[in-house]
Amino acid sequence: METAKKKLQIALYWGAACGGCDVAVLDTNEFILDVAALADIRLWPIAIDGKYKDVEAMEDGELDLVLFNGAVRNSENEHIAKLLRRKSKVMVAFGSCAHIGGIPGLANQVTKEEILDRAYLNNPSIEPGNRTVPLPESHVEAGSLEIPYVYKRVYKLDDIVPIDYYVPGCPPLPAQIKNVLVAVATGNLPARGSVVGAGHRTVCDDCKRTRNERKIKKFYRPWQIIQQPDTCLLEQGIVCAGSATRSGCGVRCPNSNMPCRGCYGPAPNVKDQGAKIVSAVASIVDSKDPAEIDRILEDIPDIMGYAYRFGLAASMLQRRI
């Protein structure tokens, strides 16, 4: 084994995800060629061939790095998460879904039955009377066919397997992805369990917009108001998650005149992102009259969507009971 230095063995996988994280890896542009030179990519369903049985045939710990994006939504996600955990030295929860549940986590507001009903039975685009729903097992002439079964709720990755590092973002910034790959390649890794490829403050701390005293008589959705380009969005009545959200994204959304959605997850020491957003948003309402306060807060539709757009599965209560 004293011959040429072994190439890094890596795998990328997606659970319940949209594919955006995989695209973000490709967005590192020509750097991906350096990765290919530096590493053997053993499994990456979206981009290259590679079979589960090849992974199963590996020695335990054979993979140096696994970047797992996506939440855990069904039995296949869990099976592969556990398999890759066993085969890898370093496993990274990559992107918001793996880190904190992501957009799929919003499904924790409804039951599995409600979802299946809406998607397959009672929906304007479904032929009336359709009774076809996916079943974990179905019997055909040739024998029985199995597909993964959907879980009752969405889990973040570290509910299922122990995770070494977290890379937040929906999707993570290409520059941050590079840093992570270089860190693994050089062995220059931070303390296990830490969030890497992100900052240690809030998005507000990095935001260039000026902040004055905040007093809100009316909340607006971004399209309902001509905004001041240099002033804090929350101060203008646009609900922004920046104050409760981890920095490191480069303040991309507020810089593009959109409020922060919270994809980098709770800021350090924030235990529940949504509770902090509720606290920050409500306390700036400019009224001392309970009825008026109610009226002003009614301008905010779908509070769960604002408070936990990405983090419901990682919130304290995790789901509707």
Binding site: Y155, D272, A275, I321
Partner: protein
């Protein structure tokens, strides 16, 4: 609900009015339900919504928030912050499926020992009728069975 269910209610009481009001209930020897576990905070504005979620997660069946009456805050405006956060927090809790009566906000002054006792009695009865809060058991169930 099964007989003998004694709810655990966490009470966050502001130092200046409500905690003193609770003290008055005690020194006046007013009898009231023993289900409230009191945590003193300096102001009702200090009560972060996180505290309420955490209390429910750790097994509280209800949470009572008490502060000075509007206009009487020791820090002038603190209780208005609590007043503003409460309706949005309630919407969040409603979306989580937490029943309305489980989390309540009441203004109790330092002279309202009697009222404090009544508030605790009333809330205890309401939560007894609701039964135990299911948050903890639901999450334990999630980890045991997918």
């Amino acid at each position: 609900m099964a007989n003998g269910f004694e709810p655990k209610i966490v009470g966050f009481l502001c130092n200046w009015c409500s905690y003193t009001g609770a003290d008055l209930a005690g020194t006046s020897r007013i009898k009231y339900a023993t289900n409230l576990r009191v945590i003193r905070t300096m102001c009702s504005a200090r009560i972060d919504p996180t505290f309420i979620l955490k209390a429910l997660l750790e097994g509280a069946d209800g949470v009572l928030i008490c502060g000075c009456h509007p206009g009487d805050c020791h820090y002038v405006e603190g209780n208005y912050k609590a007043m503003r956060r409460f309706p949005l927090l309630k919407r969040l809790l409603d979306a989580y499926g937490i029943e309305n009566e489980r989390v309540q906000l009441e203004w109790v002054s330092a002279s309202e020992g009697r009222r404090f006792a009544e508030v605790v009695d009333r809330m205890t009865e309401q939560i007894k009728a609701l039964g135990p809060c299911k948050v903890r058991t639901a999450l334990d169930f999630d980890m045991a069975e997918r």
